[in-house]
Assembly symmetry: D3
């Protein structure tokens, strides 16, 4: 079992009762887990921020052989995350307009910044292990971007979701608009919530398929996520990680390309010892064990 | 505020109580708003028709800076539209077979005709402002094509939907078959209604996600659509129009291409004054106002 | 009306009361309709198997002009199919590791095998006539692959579904991972069931849109499927087959490419006599009849 | 044979000795055929311009059944076209920065303008009949955009080509950057000429495959183009127009999608009487004649 | 070494001096190797034909472990192949119009026929081993379709190429229009030869990159092809077959998708013993030997 | 002007006579600039290597505002680079087979490794400034991968190129197979050199369009590259960097998607002051100066 450890804004725990599961928590409860960007300015590189830390966490877990499934939640009772720390952003971040570059040059800096930011969120999608996100309380803006990059979404009854970006004058640019139409098959609803920025709750989220299940409160949601993660972590990691990869590939390709990619992928993956281990355990009604990956 | 005006088959109103909202109505109630094609023949160009008028309406509203959201409905209590005016079509339109061209040459004319017709419907999708469609009564064939090109779909309790085309011996070719699988994430249901042409009602439409909400009657549906349009029109037009554009782009591209396009788009859009206006208003609990677009 | 006939593992019937409908049944009830691969080894070609037979059935029906719609079900009360016959597979099939090729060469053989297997399942999708699948009892693994290649899914109350593959140590490679995200618009749910292999029932399948309707038992499900098939078979076969083709094309292409393909397709299809037959029957309130296709 | 006619900046002739061929000429020799945009401003619609006229010409010829092939050339000995009339553009066109919109709003106007401009150029590609472009003298900027939208490029010895746009501070945005890499299979060369804006001549253009052949002077180039057009116009128009369409489709799609589209296209096109006419003429060593299209 | 064998229209030889090389020859010299379709009619299935035989040959060689490279040539001095046997086709094949189906139904039969025909040609591309085509004399129509599906093209000085299809009233539909723009990076030239059907010779073919080299006569061309095939066959078959597959995939996908597919492909392929065998032989200046594949 | 600096294997110089140009040189002449991977093993992360250094160099130059164009060359007279240091690789790198993981797990590590390696090469393509590569002497394997990721290729007379990978038993997996077919429009030639690994020289490289020009020797090639870089660096950086970006996007997308992306890109880029600066300088026959980017 791996040691627990902490970054400045994130903690990573390996609960003893959930083998092969990592529990990542956003840990800035006093600011409702809002994302904060220290020292960022338009023309300097932006070295210290929560986004970078989050990318580091998921990149590390992606290759950590002691991890087979991940749960992501937010500390404190009030919010999973309220998104961008607006006050901070308006005081000197990328959205403040203190630069006297011409609009074309400013656009280059803004594009770099947005792409870098997107890449931090995409680290959750790129992570080779399944990520289950457990949301509660305020889950606004960035919360949606982040959760659509995860694999499975759960929430508590008290959750308050919103694709909040139009309310601050911008089109959501770090993932929601690209991923939400692909995780929820109801384009009319996606457009309504993205264009109106209105709040929606747990029941609606469940009905449209944004979340898989609703739980009593934050603790119960995290418990359910850990339980599901533990179940997934008990399966062959070769099978589980291949399944995540192929499903994500298929989302973005034709069925024909999906099938061909799958054929190439499994030409190596089927050579695992896990298949005979699983088949044998199945016939003998035993729980199989699998090598690390 | 813009002046109301009328085309032959469409009226465009700017309700005083809904700032920045245009209300477009199909206005051929005596024929259940069926679409009619005057003077069309296989080999002549087809100069006057409802389709062309509809394209003109939406192309104009797309660039009209006094418009930020659009509601589309049908006049009369009986139907949003029953689709193609079958009687007229069988008497001399494109579907009558009076030509003695060989099948290859006839195919060229038919293809041109279908592509032109599709383009009229696509004008609703191309329109830079969000379009909310409020449907009631008979909403058949073309009604589905048209509504899937809109952004948000609402309906009344009495609505009767059908992908009617197979019943007149043809595969729906002006949008439904290309768009319906992308607006409703239930391919089995899409195939059933498209292959059987059976009627479905408001409740079923809500359950599968074809519409967002169901209202008491025609008037209530239009009222709800206008209310939602007004809410959307109160947001930054830079944010709203960017959101529509990026969502439509993302529907047709991979997540990776979606993110990259978004980054380029927002490199200009983030330079709007709307962001600081919105942020400031948010902090000051005021309602922001935005320049026209 | 065509004659009924049987293959070794499949029966094909043409019920007198369902004109133009073929009823295909998997016929290995004593083994819960598990798929069996005779004489397969890693390096020989695998000449006799249920997959090949299934491909032959659907390829034949695809071009049979007396068929306009197809129902697929499983014999016996216990299962639609439990998928791969694991016992047989572990004793000498492709998954047994008796070969001493190096992993790269083994991968070539495995890839060929998987692609061939995928192609058998894809025969259901390629079939020009709509395929309605009626599932009951255990419907595991391959059952999901197979049903996602069909057009419309129905099930009985007692159905027990599972994307079972991770439980035998592999990523589902013959269709489920490529098609399931495109037939069910709830990516979070798709990932949960594919990563956890958990059982889900009829009610859940209906709620997420995996099936269109739930019926009392196996017999009632097959009856409903035959009724729907009969309805579809009463429509113009030009319209129905075009609708299936264009919907499948649209699933894998942008809206723009969908519209263009539709325009070309219909440039020939609109030249059918079925359009005037259907229009005329409609005006005369008669049931139209259509030439074979 | 059709009547010759003139627009303000374009003439359209139907040379008696070239049946079924239209000869379009850019007719502003006194300004080296530079493209001029009257009355354009950033916020008004731009009603009169050479681009719009050009779109009108090619849209009309596309459906004109008396036309089977088109030659495009420039009037005067000095230039095919020197591209944008820079002086005019700097005095009040879209590139002048007299507007006080914020950069995001300005971007919306610029984007609309660019897309409209692109669409005018694309009219040459959309034209259903093959377009052969005959270039001579200065052929700068827009000349490249325009010629890459045509099907076949010829030039005279004195031609001076340049992808001139970077020299006026912009990335070529009306076609060259999207089409040049697809018409010339030498990406290193494409990048060099696009990044450096350097002049290149006939010999280099021939060597890299930008043009098919080099001719003595303007007159000889046009003569060669007319001769080739006449040859193409002597073939079945069903075959010729299908060939153009399928080649353009194939450029933008995978081989698999190309084959499938071709199959659908030819399912109608093969039903032409032209096939038997051509086969019969071939066996009888006669010149076939074909119906108009 | 495998035994030589013959089909009705093709011979397959394994020259002793060219280990691991198969030499396939079209063997209907008395009819200039024209492709002939016995017993084909519009509505029956077409059971015996040269196309089917050719597909069988290449499918078989694809999995034959004693084959590592293939040469394809035509028997007789006059022609590689003159393409479709026009006389036969006009007397009763698919292009004769003896059917009284309506144009829509006829289109279905024609499409099936074209897709089946395309699939026979695509067997050359699908073949896992590299195919070098050696062309001489008349190489018309189908010769181009066929050779673009091969990997490497060589020809003799006397070759006479033409994309002949427009001369018989049809757009080339079995591969040329989809593949030629992707094997020759000169779109202007491709359009000229496809639209005009004009003859072009060896020198022009070399200049535009349609062939790699030109040889004195038929015998010398075949000898050069066999020599190149022998060189390729001396390399690791894992490396060679992977290279063919990845190059074909890359042709149809973005660079990003190409890289990702390559990464998955090589994750198995790099586990071959061939790498260390080749590295070791390289360091020891020996000729490596590789296991069959 | 920036300061020159050195990494362990790369030097970066800013020649005084070439304003805004960076000259990067591979600096391991004693080993013919072969790429070397220190401390890499299959399961550890591989922290120090030439690839990582190269990625760092190009990532840094990409955002360095004092750089507008880059030249890449190799130190020493013998080689640009001979590619992978085979001896080192066979002694303990990723290709050595000392691991006892099962083939599926080994595949995961290999895939990660290949993707990381590809990403280092792609840093050259991602670099926002144009990269001109000047090659001489042995330019094998990795040299091709690397140069296809650059924008413009030049070489000296003595160059000896080879896509060398099949000679060490593997399909080139870090870029050549994905990019070479897109930079050279001669698929037959690409396949020949990739399948045979044969050496080709400067003349052949020029003829097929792999390089733009051939120079007397290493020094002359670098001089020509610097001259071209200086020319490009004298243009508007907004125009140049936009041109590189749009050309790379267009390579991987349809013309339609290329045009649309260009429209969005230029909606910001056209707002640069560079356009009026360039127009004004042009009219006044002065050399324009542009702000940094």
């Amino acid at each position: 079992m791996a040691q627990n450890y902490s970054f400045k804004y994130f903690t990573v725990q390996f609960p003893a009762e959930n083998p092969y599961v990592a529990h990542v928590e956003i840990n800035r409860a006093e600011k409702m887990n809002a994302f904060f960007e220290a020292n960022a300015s338009l023309t300097s590189s932006w070295v210290t921020s929560m986004w970078l830390e989050m990318r580091q966490v998921f990149t590390q877990l992606s290759e950590d052989p002691s991890v087979r499934a991940i749960v992501l939640s937010g500390a404190g009772e009030k919010a999973f995350t309220t998104g961008l720390d607006v006050k901070a952003a308006s005081q000197g971040g990328i959205l403040s307009s203190d630069s006297n570059l011409d609009p074309a040059r400013k656009a280059v800096h803004l594009r770099r910044h947005v792409l870098e930011f997107q890449d931090c969120i995409s680290a959750v999608e790129r992570c080779e292990k399944p990520v289950i996100v457990a949301m509660h309380g305020f889950s606004l803006g960035l919360a949606i971007d982040l959760s659509t990059a995860a694999d499975i979404r759960l929430c508590s009854k008290d959750v308050r979701f919103a694709v909040k970006e139009v309310d601050i004058g911008l089109a959501a640019d770090i993932g929601t608009l690209s991923r939400l139409p692909k995780v929820v098959g109801n384009f009319s609803w996606v457009k309504e919530v993205a264009l109106s920025a209105r709040i929606f709750g747990a029941e609606e989220a469940l009905r449209v398929g944004f979340v898989n299940s609703v739980h009593e409160n934050r603790a119960a949601t995290i418990a359910a996520a850990l339980k599901l993660a533990t179940l997934i972590a008990s399966k062959s990691p070769v099978a589980v990680q291949g399944t995540k990869e192929i499903l994500n590939w298929s989302r973005d390709h034709s069925v024909q390309d999906g099938l061909r990619y799958t054929g190439v992928w499994n030409s190596a993956a089927l050579q695992t010892g896990d298949v005979s281990a699983a088949l044998l355990s199945g016939l003998q009604k035993r729980t199989p064990t699998f090598e690390k990956l």
